[in-house]
Amino acid sequence: MDQINHAVLENREQNKAMARILTVLSSFASDRPEFGISELSQHLGMTKNMVYRAIKTLVEQDYVMRDPTGQRFQLGFRVLELQNVTSPEPTFRTLCAPAMQQIHELTGETVSLTVRALDYSVFIDGIETRKPGVWRLQIGALRPLHANSTGHVFLAFAGDGAVTDYVARHGNEAASAGEAMDAAAMVQDIAIIRQRGYATSVRAGMLPMVSLAFPIWDAEHNLHGVISVGGPKGRFEPALDGLLPRIIGIVETLCQRTRLYSANAAGSEITL
């Protein structure tokens, strides 16, 4: 019996050690080129000894190697063997899905993923809240960029002159459709988004809603899309101060991965 227990415990320890090795390797799947042992230890919440042992195994396998200075560690060439031509590469949606799930679990509110299509934002994925007062998600729905904070995020990071050009293209058209565009307010909102790095908005109505919208960056400082989270003001706003740093942390971790791909005008590298 003791022998069996010992074997079970040993297996469990080996699995934990292996999970740590894979976690250390996963840290290199980011736009940061190299790490030191202390940085990894701090970043992953592991002791330096644990990190060192994991790195040693990964170096032996050529998945990680010392950089030319010998002091830091970088990805090894052997990760190139880990690919299969029959397996699909991650899509923008599959990359964002875990982060959206984390934000949903953290806030309990509706989370959506949006991309830009010309002068519109398009919902391509989302998780609706199970609480009352649902911000309805309509996959495929188009919204003019001036109509909400998600659209403002796209305009905010589209380069100088993007807002002026947008107003020149759509100012009259929006007014005639009954969607008055307040260009001055939009410019002010966009300036705040640029400074803060994300958008916040309150939508008035019978059930006032509060939302946050975060840019999801690519490898060339362009946007892949926007992740938004929102809910009824009375419920979501009081919790925001505590939640915001954690949501920002989740989005930053996601962007370390989305920054590995380009979303350029000639066609995104990554499939939607």
Partner: protein, 278 residues
Amino acid sequence: MKTLKRAAINSSAQHVFDVLRTVSDAAEPPGVSDIGRRLGLTGSTVFRALTTLEASGYVSRFRNLPRFELGTMPYLLNRALLNRFEINLASRPFLRELAQETGETVSLNARLGWYSLRLSGVYGSRDIYHRDRLGELGFLHHALPGRAILAFLTDADLAGMAGFLADRASEWPGDAAWTEMRERLKGAENTGFLAEPLTMSPGFCAIGMPVRDETGAAIASITINGPVFPSGKIGGLLAVRDRLEALILADPQRFISPFAHLPPERILLKVPRRKAVP
């Protein structure tokens, strides 16, 4: 014949990496027993390894079946490695310009030891296009992108590569084929590019242009995989490549490969089987 040899690690870690590599190499998503048979491991050892790999995103279930394919993480690691080559992002504007000019797929391959590694691809405007997989690896002599690099290596480098391949008998194309290929590549020294016939577009060629450093040795190549030659456009296409080379010459340190500190023979990789020399 030399084989890949790496230091021993503890058996549990070794099993997990072996299972990962088996999933990666499989033609079809394998199940627990397929992997066990292939590696000579028990079902429970394979199952434990797959559970650990799945929890970390290295493998995932294939269509909810008890079969496994690579997960997201290996692809992210691949991308992270490709982005470590400074020339990858720096070349994008030039690749886009070429794709716009020709309407064809334009790829950038870097030299990695004796291998060619596809770093980047930009698609042109044509409905029917050549889809290249990023991260694709091959020996330099296997395909046009690598041959465009090989044509601009020194005689000493070529001798080093021949020795490397000869040590791996199955990779050596044979003395006659190697000599014939070297003769063919010599023509590129005068034109500054390689043109090779496209089997699916009779009468047309794909072209490969070396991207050289300050010593004149190729560190990468740009390939245009479409019927672009003969077309009269070649001068304009080479001029775009020349501008990329000028960018490299202005700051050569920036564009040194992240693996340049390793001797080429230290870089050992398993590449998909293919015909050695066309």
